[in-house]
């Protein structure tokens, strides 16, 4: 190997000297660093403006008539309108995601990580799931409209004045929308379980399912929970698919009941749809009501998000420590 000759002509020497003399601080480096920090802080500033703006707008409603705002249905007058039906729809959508998406998603992840052999079928499923995660949400609405609304048209008989655009159709549509994200995050959590844990369980004679049930799932549980909570939050904030499925924008018949199973066969709306409807109303009187509805939705969605992030950070710290 040839010995590399340092090239120390005048120019290089002077530059090196200058840089040493400057104490290691270079202006362009500093500018670069602050520009990067600026990008980050600007994004956070926007978040701050958004939240501040929404809260100040909503204050007149939240401070004076929180009770009626939560309990009233949508009315023609802004200062009487409430979000009761929106909350009800969002609650039921959450139920569908928890009951359908969580078990199916986790089971699919178990298959992909623990059972699947590395063959064409597995690769197909993997590519398929990654692509499903990228399908625009409004396209899931088309699936809901074509399949669920059509299938459910006759199911609830004359209970529903609907044409199939029931809570069930909306709930199933969002449950399916949330599925790919649950599968992907649960797979990642299961993949992170060290093999030594599985081998130890096999070593004492456990079967595959016993290994998964008693070792893999408990270890992966925090990661799985984080992913499921994030996907639940995402589903509860979605509006576009519900519009396609036929969630009611505007007034919805003054039916009572919240938790009753008969809601499954009724027409429905949800918080994001209520917000859309309020936001589209002409006139400034609707702005505080819209903002108040947004605050309620943000509390729910960001609440789930925060719990998920805190859980993850906590367990990450524990594992590393």
């Amino acid at each position: 190997m040839a010995i590399v000759q340092p090239i120390l002509d005048d120019k290089t020497g002077k530059r090196v000297e200058a840089q040493i003399a400057s104490g290691g601080v270079s202006l362009s480096n500093l500018i670069f660093k602050w520009a990067l920090l600026g990008c980050l802080l600007f994004s956070l500033l926007v978040l701050g403006v958004l939240i501040y703006d929404v809260f100040t707008d909503s204050w007149s409603v939240l401070s004076s008539r929180l009770g009626t705002f939560l309990a009233n249905p949508t009315r023609t007058a802004a200062d009487e309108s409430g979000i009761f039906q929106g909350l009800r729809g969002t609650f039921w959508i959450g139920v569908f995601v928890i009951v359908f998406t969580f078990p199916v998603g986790i089971a699919a992840a178990i298959y992909l990580e623990e059972y699947a052999r590395d063959n064409a079928f597995t690769r197909l499923i993997n590519v398929n799931i990654r692509n499903l995660a990228g399908v625009p949400s409004v396209v899931y609405g088309i699936l809901g409209l074509t399949v669920f609304v059509t299938l459910l048209k006759g199911v609830y008989g004359d209970v529903a004045l609907s044409r199939g655009n029931t809570t069930t159709a909306g709930g199933l549509t969002l449950a399916i929308l949330a599925l790919p994200v649950v599968i992907i995050t649960a797979s990642e959590a299961i993949r992170a379980v060290p093999d030594s844990l599985r081998e130890a369980a096999y070593g004492v004679g456990a079967t595959k399912w016993e290994v998964i049930k008693s070792h893999v799932l408990p270890y992966a549980a925090p990661g799985i929970l984080t992913g499921t909570l994030l996907s639940l939050a995402r589903a509860l904030g979605e509006a576009a698919p519900l519009i396609l499925v036929g969630a009611v924008q505007g007034k919805l018949g003054p039916r009572t009941g919240f938790f009753g199973l008969d809601q499954l066969g009724e027409k429905f709306t949800a918080m994001p749809i209520v917000i859309t409807d309020f936001a589209k109303q002409p006139g400034d009187s609707w702005q505080p009501v819209t903002a108040a509805a947004i605050v309620v939705l943000l509390l729910v969605v960001l609440g789930f998000n925060a719990v998920a992030v805190i859980l993850r950070n906590r367990f990450e710290a524990k594992r590393e420590g």
Binding site: N29, G38, C39, L40, L44, A108, P136, I183, T276, A279
Partner: protein
Amino acid sequence: MTTSLSTDHPGGPEALLAGNPRRRAREKAVHTIVTLAAFTSVLITVGIVGSLVFRAGEFLVGLANPSDADIAEARGPIGFSNLWSDQWAPRFFDFDIKTLLVGSLIVTVIAMAVATPLGLGAAVYLSEYADSRVRKILKPILEVLAGIPSVVLGFFALRWISPNLVQRFFDSEGQSLLAAGLGVGLLTIPLVASISEDAMRSVPGSLREASAGLGARKKTTTLSVVMPAAVSGLVAALIVATSRAIGETMVVFLAAGASGNSALFTVSPLERGSTMTAAMASQASGTDGTITELGFGSLFFVGFVLFVITLVLNLLADRFVRRVRHGY
């Protein structure tokens, strides 16, 4: 313990090794259940593609052979030429798809012009500059931004960005594609940031150390070593964000200002307009006075075009992401 591992088991040693039949049955049942669960995802894809192809096809057939009801409603002849005019207005049988494509393009370009520098900048800072204490605080806040529902950003674009930014600095009356594009851009910042940060953090530290050892400053190391090494991931981040921006519905539906479900062809971001997604949402919400069968069917046709575009982008991004994984 009474279990003995001797060979004098009633069924002989084979029966002993075969194990408990109930345990074996349970193993089999679990295997079947999880396989079916994984297969659900294939069914979903089949459902999506099937309903899109079937109903978009129905629309095109209806265009070629219009029903009597549609002919009675339409003011002019119905045919494939209706797919190319100067506006998107299903009510008048004007299905000019280029209006929506250009609308989507404008919104996406504006969104990416916002999200690319801000998202990448934030990612570089978090991955290369922030010490772990700062990172622990700032990153979750960025994740909060990612969790904000798009309908909220739609309201923000309509009620804050439009009056405070667009109408103040540009000659625009009310709602515009620009306001919608800015809103979509804000929505995609966290996505760009989180994917590209992952890509840069997966660059091994030894590369940075080698660069520093040669005397490079942090900026040089970041720009000429870390970012080139992570380029596949960065490209993937931008493609995924583009795909998300094209597919974003609610911000455009609220802030772009298409009245009813009709939009004139425009190339100016300062005008009202519509995108593929917003057109679908308005068609479905039935703000149009009369909903003709053909008019409603256009929703599926637009959905099909949207699906194909995002699918191509997602497949492309997937290739880049996998290149990162195989890299190190």
